[in-house]
Amino acid sequence: MLDTVLQQLLIGLTNGMVFALVALGYTMVYGILEFINFAHGDVFMLSAFVALTLCGALGLNEHSSAGALAGGLLLCIVASSVFGGLLNLLIDRVVYKPLRKAPKLAPLVSAIGVSFILQNVGLFWGGMAMDVFGGGGQAAAPKAFPNLLPATNLLGATSKITLQPKDVLVIGASLVMMTALYGIVRFTKLGKAMRATAQDPSAARLMGIDVDQVVAATFLIGGALGGFASVIYSLYINTVHYQMGYQNGLYAFTAAVVGGIGNIPGAVLGGLLLGLVRAFSDQFIGAQWQPAVLFGILIVILVFRPAGLLGSTAREKV
């Protein structure tokens, strides 16, 4: 029993880290622009396709040499992060920016539209003829992501708890990224500008902050985090699918809301909480009830704390 609990704890932690990384992208954009960037999950998905394509092009698989693997992995991470960041930035410039002054519904609906376009692109991408895409020629089928890390148990083959190198990678890399983000937001000039803009965009503008640049940086950083998360997620799960952005985006957004949207530590807390709940509900209730359990918890939390766990209730100015 204890082994099961510990194992699920580990799985939950790992999943939660990925959720948290994606949730950060949602929460940062929400904090500044106050709208749900529905397309964020699909940026995550397309970044995974970039990594997959790169793996295919480089011919990386579990039999490659350790050096090639390390180099390839690094390249994948960099390429996906850059791709995710730039794609997110591009979407903002092309679609959201002209709508900054429109009613709140407009950017939200546009984001849903963009999300659908990206999903469709993912579907077509999956239909491309490439050797590395496992799972048959079907465009909509999940693609196998090569198992780049050894599947050995770090705790020894006899241990009842499995801790694989990829678990360590996910947790370690996520912690590094979150610390880096925290550092940026807390200590750099850009971070200060971001916090100021989140609090009051027009006041920030009056103080000489280039709000446009701050928004661009936010989208860039959020997208890059999503791209980064997509690589470690694909490594962890070993499949890439054109709808994975929707599923994980939904969970990540839920995590952001649970933690208090717009609140960066809240997103991490929400992600971890959701990851843990998911792991335990999969173990003790049944994987098929996963979404029901997660959204049930979301509703309960919002009833008792309408602004999320760490969010503060904003007072309307009268």
Partner: protein
């Protein structure tokens, strides 16, 4: 019924003309004849029209929630599914109830309303975006629940066959030419859906001009000021949400009956909800006529234009291409997505908006800039 008379005077001849045209169409499907002569293929526009009527009901339901009450609801498919599966359980042979279409038509909206109330009561006080995510989640949960409760819903197979509505012999026979029962059933569904749709449109437009309609506008414009004037935002919103859910349940009942099956639960996914939202956005959020137009356009694209384009594409590529891009139905999300983005940018009030909503949207833009 003085208000009805003034109402008729106000709306003018167009809706009445449309109603009359639609009422006689099944007996003289001119468009079908024309298209059949031109393309050599039967398109069965009357069949598509039934789908459009049912989809319009659903769009009107969502319009009540999103367009009128301003609640961002992204899970309308859940209530549609509740209606369909309630109808399924109440009518299929497997279960002892078997109350038939007429009974189900009364009970399905009740269950839809119940679902709406249960979801709405604790969550409608939340801010707009939170509500969006809660309703989205509820849509997912409902789909998962229907899929998992296999004993009840038959899981991925869905409940079937849902029987056709029982009709008196006289009506049945007069609707079926030369004793062809299937045409009789189709026509029965056609007229039933048309009547219910027309009644719904009348009720909703009366509602729009009523006390509650005024409260909707006031809440959309300035919730705080409205609540300081004694309007209870939570109560009005809950009423709109429950009402919309009931209407969606009714649409679900028609859907299942028309399809003769509840269809598999995965039909009622997030994409379905967004498709309904999409047709509101295209037609004009908060506008009854816009919702109808949007429903017609969207289903028209899916069922008429898309297959036509696919055929053209296949001919151009020379024969049967199995590539994912060669079938136009695989492009539909790009088309819908682009439509949403472009509409929001160029014409946020929709193609055929109500005048009030158009003013609201434009005013905000002018004020802000």
């Amino acid at each position: 019924m003085a208000e009805l008379r003034t109402f008729l005077k106000k709306i003018g001849g167009l809706p009445v003309l449309a109603l009359v045209l639609l009422a006689v169409y099944p007996f003289a499907p001119v468009l079908d004849w024309g298209l059949e002569a031109a393309t050599g293929q039967a398109l069965h526009i009357d069949r598509q029209l039934v789908n459009i009527f049912i989809f319009s009901l659903l769009a009107l339901a969502l319009n009540l929630q999103v367009g009128q009450a301003g609640l961002l609801q992204l899970g309308i498919a859940a209530f549609f599914a509740i209606g369909a599966f309630t109808t399924g359980v109440l009518t299929v042979e497997k279960y002892p109830f078997q109350i038939g279409f007429w009974g189900a038509m009364l009970i399905a909206p009740l269950f839809g309303a119940m679902g709406g109330f249960l979801l709405g009561a604790p969550t409608l006080r939340l801010r707009g975006d939170y509500l969006a995510i809660v309703t989205l989640g509820f849509g997912e949960v409902m789909r998962i629940v229907l899929l998992n409760l296999e004993n009840i819903t038959d899981g991925p197979r869905g409940l079937n066959p849902v029987p056709a509505p029982w009709l008196p012999t006289l009506v049945r026979e007069s609707l079926s030419p030369a004793g062809d029962a299937s045409i009789g059933v189709l026509r029965a569904m056609y007229f039933l859906a048309l009547i219910v749709l027309a009644a719904t449109v009348v009720c909703l437009s009366l509602l729009e001009k009523s006390r509650i309609g005024r409260a909707f506008v006031a809440l959309r414009e300035d919730e705080l000021a409205a609540s300081c004037m004694g309007i209870e935002p939570a109560r009005i919103k809950l009423a709109a949400f429950t009402g919309g859910a009931a209407l969606a349940g009714l649409a679900g009942c028609f859907y299942a009956t028309n399809l003769t099956t509840t269809a598999e639960p995965n039909t009622y996914d997030f994409n379905y909800s967004i498709m309904v939202l999409c047709c509101l956005i295209i037609g004009g959020l908060g506008s009854l006529r816009g919702a109808l137009l949007g429903a017609g356009l969207l289903l028209g694209f899916d069922n008429v234009i898309s297959p036509l384009l696919t055929r053209l594409l296949q001919t151009a590529l020379g024969g049967e291409s199995t590539h994912v891009m060669a079938s136009f139905s695989n492009w539909r999300w790009i088309v819908f997505g682009t439509a949403l983005v472009v509409m929001m940018r160029l014409r946020p009030e929709g193609l055929w908006p109500s005048s009030r909503v158009a003013e609201e949207l434009h005013e905000t833009q002018e004020d802000a800039s």
